[in-house]
Structure formats: C-alpha cells, structure tokens
C-alpha cells in the first residue's frame, strides 16, 4: 500500500540520522580516551577563525537593534514572496498584480510607521 511505502521512506532517514550521529560521536569518544590533557590559557580562549581573540564572547548588543532586526526580517521575507511572483509575472492576470501591489503597499506603510516612530534612528 502506498501508505506503508511512504512511512518506509522515513526508515531511510532514520538510518541516515543514526549513521550521521555515530560518525560524529565515535571520533570524539576516541579522542576523549586517547588524547593527552594539557589545558592552557591560549587553548581555552574564544575561537575567532584563527585570529587572536579580542575581549569576551558575551558582547551585549544594543536593545535598539531588536526593532531594527525585526524590520529587516519583514523586508527579507517580502523578497521571498516577490521572487516567485516575478518569475511567473508574464502568465498572471491583473488579479495577482493588484494583490502584490496591496502587499507591497502594506509593507511600505509599515516602513513609514517605523520611520515616524523613530525606530530607524540609531543613537
């Protein structure tokens, strides 16, 4: 039955997850058993892509970025809707065009609102 075949597909995924976990865990266990332990100040430092680390990893971000980040996500997701619409544009009638116009206008309204409320000014 198609249902069983469908569920059986998950078996492959489960197997794959199991192998992937073992593949990562076994070398770590081997390393933990045979590696010598010599901790030092440089070894315990924050890893910053090989450069010498500067300061603490627990940097505090200014709370104002929170609004800024939210606004960014909104317009990032807007692109997600605009791309498929743009690809299919020539085949669509006036209805989808008006719908996307309304969508963009509502988002533009949110930008105006944020601007007027002073969220975009970062001191």
């Amino acid at each position: 039955m198609e249902t069983d075949a469908y569920i059986a597909n998950y078996g492959t995924i489960a197997l794959f997850i199991g192998v992937a976990v073992l593949f990562a865990v076994i070398p770590l266990m081997i390393a933990a058993i045979i590696a010598p332990r010599k901790p030092g100040r440089v070894k315990g430092d924050t890893y910053e892509c090989g450069l010498e680390s500067k300061g603490d990893a627990w940097v505090q971000f200014h709370a104002q970025y929170y609004h800024y980040a939210l606004a960014f996500v909104i317009f990032d997701v807007e692109a997600l809707f605009l791309f498929p619409w743009a690809v299919a544009f020539t085949n669509l009638g006036p209805g989808p065009f008006l719908a996307i116009c309304a969508f963009v206008l509502i988002l533009a309204e949110s930008l105006v609102y944020l601007w007027l409320k002073g969220v975009l000014d970062i001191k």
Partner: protein, 491 residues
C-alpha cells in the same frame, strides 16, 4: 456586498489609523472612537451580505480538478455570518472597555492606553472574521496566526509589571508550542490527502474505513492546537496566569473572542474537513478533554482569591460544557457534527458572550489596578454602585446557569445534546460541575450584597457606559426568557 468586505474594511481602517496616529494627526481617544465606528460599519456590512443556501466560495483554486467541490478558500454561510457578528461584537465591546480603562487614573507603573491599544484589536477582529470563513487549512492557519501574534503583543502590554511579563512570556511560549502542533498536524493531513482544502480532504476520507494512522495522528495534533485556543484541560495551563496578567479588556477578548475562534475552527474542521468516520478518532479524545475541563475548571475556580483567575478557571469549565455540545457526531452518513450540536455550540457561545463581557466590563471599572482584583474588593459593591453590582450579579448568575438568565439556555442546549448522543458519563460529570460552579459564582454575589465594603466611596460610571450596562442586563434576562432569539440568530 463583496464577500471579503468586513475583513478589508477592518484592515484598511487599522492601517489608516496607524499612519494618522504616527503623524500625530489624531489623539488616542479619537482613534478609539474611529475604531468603534469601523466595527459598526463592518457589522452593518456583514448583516446586509446575502447568505446562499449552499456555502459560497469567493476565491478559486486554479489547480483543483473541474467539477470538484474543493475549489474555494473562503466561504460565506450562515455559520460564518453568525461568528463574524459574534467576533465584531466582541471587539466593539473590548474597545469600549479599553476606552473605559483609559479614563481611569494610571498607577506609577501602568502604561497609559495608547492608540495602538485600539488599533491592534481591529487586526484581531479581521483575523477572526477570516477564520470564520476559512475553507482551507492555509487560510485557517494564516488567520489564526494573525489573531495569536496580535494577542502576544496585547497580553504583554503592561510591560513594567512582573505579572504582565510573566503572562506575555507564558502565552508566547505555549502559544508557539500549540502552533507547532497545529502546523505539524496540518502537514500530516495535507501530506496524505494531497490537498489543504476542507472539501478535498473530506472527499478523500469520507469512506466507511478508518482513517489512515498518519491522518488520525494529524487530526489529534490539530486538536492539541485548538485545545490551547479554547483553554481546555490539559492545554489550559497558560489561562490563569495570562488572564490575571493581561490588561482586563484583553482578558475579556481572550476569554470570549479567542475561545470562540478556537471553537469555530474546531467545528469547521470536524464538520467540513472530516466526516462521521473521523468520530472514532476525535470522539474519545474530546470526551476525555471535556470531562477533565469540566472537573478541573469548576473545582479549581472555587479556591481563587483573584476574580480574573476565578473567571479563567470557570472559562476552562465553560470550554468543557461547549465541548459536550461539539461531541455530537459519529452518525453514519451524517455530517461531522450534527446540526443540533452546531446550534448548541453557537447558542452557548452567544450566552457566554453576553455574560462574560458584562462581567469583564464591570471588572474594568471596579478594578483599575491589579491590587483591586481580589474578590474582597467586591465586598459591598451594592452600596458603592447599585448598577455595577446588579450587572455583575446578572452576568455571574447567568454564567452559573440559573433559569431566568441567558446562561441557562446555553447550558440546557449542551445537556440536551449530551443526552441525545448518549454521553451519559459526561452528562453526570457536567451536572456535578455545574453545581460546583454555583458555589463560586454565588460566593461573589454574596460578597457584593451581604458583606461590609472595605471602602465606601461610590464608584462613578460614565453615562454611555451606564446605558450600555443597562442594555446588557436587559439582554441577559430577555434572551433567557425568549429562546427564539437564538434560533433567529443561527438560522
């Protein structure tokens, strides 16, 4: 009128008001008045939109096969219209309550009521109206999220207060979890049915066979998501803390609007997307949920000292009564839920709407600060303001389900359905819980009339609110005496 009119009116008005307010062209109070005007226009538009005999579909799905019923995303039938009016009425009264609480003096840590506090409920109302017409899981999910995400903001509105923050965090995290269950359930059902439209799903699974295991699992996960919205045991844990911490108008909105939104999607999905055979899956699950909600809600409410917490637990109990009316399916070749059950749910919600919103309107006026929310603050309310005491007494007695008031009609309908569909165990539990309910509702009534007040200063009520309270008391009694009103409403 075009079918999407109420939603478009509300959204457009909310956007215009947001811009005007941001430019500083309009005061918060006039935003509130304009919001009320917008709600009134939406109610008139909804009343004057014709309802066809068959569900009508507004949008069409270009990918659906010719001749299938599964083409629509949006439907406008009698049920949709009734619930739209219900949600618009709730939103109107909630905005009225917000304006009432804006008129009261603010404490040192209370945020003043700003224009957004009137505008966000308009978005909630638009989402709820869309929800009442959803004929597809996609529309259902998007509109449910519009409602829920707006509530996240409104619940945590008093962000200086610790209880409000606790309420906001609890509602956000548990709401997110419930949404995850809901969307996972929708994924299972849509993955197997190959479509998200209700008509497409019922066409595929309305056979005498049992549902495939994965679809049954999906349905149960969807029930978890809805169980959160209607605050039923065991998905009720957020309710007491959120009801207590949220501003009182928003508590009213959650307890009436959000609960009814959960029930409309519940009956829609069980009725339109799943047929009588699915009853074998959801019947036992909802029976257990209803029984637990009845017992826990009503017995936990007895020990509450805070009136909003008490109403939160009693709301859990009311969910149990309404679920009893939902449990009217499983008749071979019948609909998912019998017409008697649908009517009983609608009538119960209508009576709950009147009683609960009246109670919260009084609480908004009597308890402007969290310290005044204890039931002791209601001692001797009769001496301080006879009208407020009478309104709260009428609404609490109605919630308890004593005959001359509206609540009795709602409870009667739920009990009749339970007998009709042979849920004798549940009937017995519900009867005991209803008696337990008398104890704590009448406890507040006793405190208002026969206890000495803590302070004797009379409470001032503005004239429009006096008129509104009088109308609400009249409606509570009139609809209880004349049940035909409900038959007309849900026709």
């Amino acid at each position: 009128m075009p079918y999407l009119a109420p939603e478009i009116i509300l959204t457009a008005l909310a956007i215009v008001l947001l811009l005007l307010e941001a430019y500083g062209a309009i005061s918060a109070r006039s935003v509130g008045i304009w919001s009320l005007v917008g709600i009134a226009v939406a109610i008139v538009v909804t009343l004057f939109t014709e309802v066809g005999a068959e569900p009508m579909y507004f949008w069409t799905d270009p990918n659906a096969a010719e001749g299938t019923a599964g083409k629509g995303l949006y439907m406008w039938d009698a049920t949709a219209r009734f619930y739209k009016l219900f949600f618009l009425g709730t939103t109107g009264l909630v905005i009225w309550m917000s304006m009432e609480s804006a008129a009261q003096p603010v404490g040192p840590k209370t945020q003043p009521i700003r224009a957004e506090f009137y505008i966000l409920p308009l978005f909630v109302a638009a989402g709820m109206c869309l929800l009442a017409s959803a004929a597809d899981f996609m529309v259902l999910f998007v509109s449910l999220e519009l409602v829920t995400i707006t509530f996240y903001i409104l619940v945590a509105y008093q962000r200086e207060s610790a209880t409000a923050l606790e309420a906001g965090v609890k509602y956000l995290i548990l709401g997110g979890l419930a949404t995850a269950f809901l969307v996972m359930g929708i994924a299972y059902v849509a993955g197997f049915a190959g479509t998200t439209s209700f008509a497409g799903i019922i066409a595929k699974y309305n056979t005498p066979d049992h549902l495939p295991v994965a679809v049954a699992l999906g349905l149960l996960m969807i029930l978890v998501g809805f169980g959160f919205k209607i605050a039923s045991v065991p998905f009720h844990l957020w309710a007491p803390d959120v009801y207590q911490g949220a501003p009182t108008p928003i508590t009213a909105f959650l307890s009436v609007g959000s609960k009814a939104a959960g029930f409309i999607v519940l009956v829609r999905v069980l009725n339109e997307a799943f047929g009588p055979t699915a009853y074998a899956t959801w019947g036992p699950a909802l029976t257990a949920i209803a029984g637990c909600s009845l017992v826990l809600g009503n017995f936990a409410a007895m020990h509450q000292r805070n009136i909003k917490r008490m109403l939160a637990y009693s709301g859990v109990g009311h969910s149990g009564f309404i679920l009893m009316a939902v449990l009217s399916g499983g008749v071979p070749d019948g609909p998912g839920i019998a017409q008697a059950g649908m009517t009983a749910v609608a009538v119960y919600l209508a009576t709950y709407f009147l009683a609960s919103l009246t109670a919260f309107l009084v609480i908004t006026i009597v308890s402007p600060t969290p310290e005044e929310e204890s039931i002791r603050s209601y001692n001797g309310l009769w001496q301080r303001s006879p009208l407020l005491a009478a309104a709260l007494a009428a609404s609490l007695i109605s919630l308890a389900g004593i005959p001359p008031f509206a609540g009795f009609v709602g409870k009667l309908g739920a009990f009749v359905v339970a007998l009709q569909f042979h849920h004798y165990g549940l009937f017995f539990i519900a009867a005991i819980s209803a008696v337990a309910g008398l104890y704590y509702y009448l406890g507040v009534v006793k405190a208002m009339f026969w206890s000495e007040p803590l302070e004797v200063t009379p409470i001032q009520v503005s004239v429009p609110t006096q008129v509104l309270l009088t109308i609400l008391i009249f409606l509570l009694i009139a609809t209880g005496l004349c049940m035909e009103v409900f038959a007309w409403l849900v026709r």
